[in-house]
Symmetry: C2
């Protein structure tokens, strides 16, 4: 993956995505001792950075492949990203969702024109349903994170951030399936001499941390974290990129995630998913390491269920 691959990906998807704003908070800067620039992918179309990778992957398909449609399985943002990405290009999107996926997520997929196939909530059932759709329709599978075109698309968020703030010491992103982390690491590697990339990960789903320690992909036996976007594991395509270009991974507790999420809601007045709070939680946890540094944080998405927020049970 060269610098030119990234630039080409950005040019390719630019007509279909928002160039999201970068915000700062003097209160959070004061609390952290750092200068933090938040790249707000919660303001991205469909509410998350996944729009970038999905659109890039769909646009790289041949005309013939595009005619037959695309398919993915997801209960989260990738379902909406593939649906809307395909809709914008006039392409059919087949979305396999577990039967226990929240109604609000299914409704969003339908609104974006995705054709839902429900399945039993297990990875085997999801993959079997995808296989059947591919056999029936010839649709192309888009993996949520372990696909080079998806990784390049996700890297364009960091690319825009580095263009706007070229002197960042670190960019921190959450790590779930590894697509955003690998794309960000590629962008920093190719576009900056200085910027290092750090992943933030819940202690309760620390497969990426353990994978880097072990030198091979590790899995989560349990993933009991509020950061629902980060419960998945790395893939064989993004793992070597992460090994080569990511500086380190910082793990945080559930209480640290909720506290950082609340800080962003209260101080920045923006709605972010729990997953996006993980990098700020990491900065506050290892405060001394980041004092007086220039930091970028990618706010990965803002799709939360407003009827089920973690604030009610907290005392301040």
């Amino acid at each position: 993956m060269t610098k030119d691959d990234l630039i080409q990906a950005h040019m390719r998807i630019a007509p279909y995505i928002h160039k999201t704003p970068v915000l700062s908070s003097s209160a959070i800067n004061k609390q952290s001792g750092a200068s933090i620039f938040f790249k707000c992918e919660n303001f991205q179309k469909m509410g998350a950075f996944k729009m970038r990778g999905a659109t890039n992957a769909i646009l790289q398909l041949s005309d013939h492949a595009q005619e037959r449609g695309v398919v993915t399985h997801s209960s989260g943002n990738m379902a909406q990203a593939v649906s809307l990405g395909a809709k914008q290009l006039g392409i059919t999107a087949y979305i396999v969702m577990p039967s226990n996926a929240p109604a609000v997520k299914k409704a969003a997929v339908r609104e974006y024109g995705g054709i839902i196939t429900e399945c039993f909530p297990s990875m085997e059932a999801r993959e079997a349903a995808v296989e059947k759709i591919i056999a029936d329709t010839g649709a192309s599978f888009i993996h949520p994170s372990d696909d080079l075109n998806v990784i390049l698309g996700q890297g364009t968020a960091a690319m825009e951030l580095i263009e706007e703030h070229p002197d960042l010491d670190y960019i921190l992103v959450p790590v779930g399936g590894g697509g955003l982390l690998a794309g960000t690491a590629l962008a920093a590697h190719h576009l900056s001499d200085k910027t290092q990339v750090i992943g933030g990960e819940p202690m309760e789903a620390d497969d990426a941390y353990r994978s880097l320690e072990a030198g091979k992909i590790m899995y989560n036996e349990t993933a009991d974290t509020i950061a629902d976007g980060l419960r998945t594991h790395l893939g064989h395509i993004n793992f070597p990129i992460i090994q080569q270009h990511v500086h380190s991974i910082i793990r945080v507790s559930e209480a640290e995630i909720i506290s950082a999420m609340r800080l962003i809601w209260e101080r920045m007045k923006i709605i972010i998913e729990p997953s996006c709070a993980v990098p700020l939680a990491a900065v506050l946890k290892e405060r001394s390491r980041f004092v007086d540094q220039q930091l970028g944080i990618i706010i990965s998405g803002g799709n939360v269920d407003l009827t089920n927020l973690p604030f009610n049970n907290l005392t301040k």
Copy 2:
């Protein structure tokens, strides 16, 4: 109040406030049929437009008056605005708050350096406490909405919006005490040949609507609305400005307010107070009137209690 008064107010407060961003939502534009530009005063310092009026009023005091401090009574955003406005200028702020004000509001005032005097929760007790502070300290009283310098300061939000979007057909703002509505009306009158100003008001606290009908200031016997910033009545200074320069007032129900608030949270991923949802609720209620129009809406603030949100009891 001339155009030059407004321009002077803006120059005066500019070093102490944020020039807030203007956001749009394609989903909300689609739903309303209009092009809506949201001026995001929820991103203003201390989280609300009140920062503008408070700062302008404090800056208009003589050096001698500034030395003796300022005083206001408020359980809401004006308490924080006067505290932070004074703090930025090195001035003492005395804040009278009813004893039943939320702890989170008191904590915010203290954080901004305001000196709190608690009183019995009645208007008489609040005014008596203010009188005593004035007698003891010589502090100058800053009224939250019925003060020409406060009105001019609040008008600078619309001024920035019109500079960025000069072709607006209407600007809609919530109406509570009337400071924002009067300031916005002055700004539109002096800075645009085209833009009309409409107030949005809860049906449950429709004193401004009834005041314009009656030609004199009317009061609310009850004000059972979630839009807690809009429970107050107009004042003798802002009412004539509103009579002269405001196009009309649209009243909305509690369900319409909550629905519009949820729409902004879900689609724009920004945190707004219930009061700010009133203008969008008005646009959606009288949709046909606004179709194909260019609208500005001032999102007045973002200080909400995250532990007490109105979404839990709703079904979508």
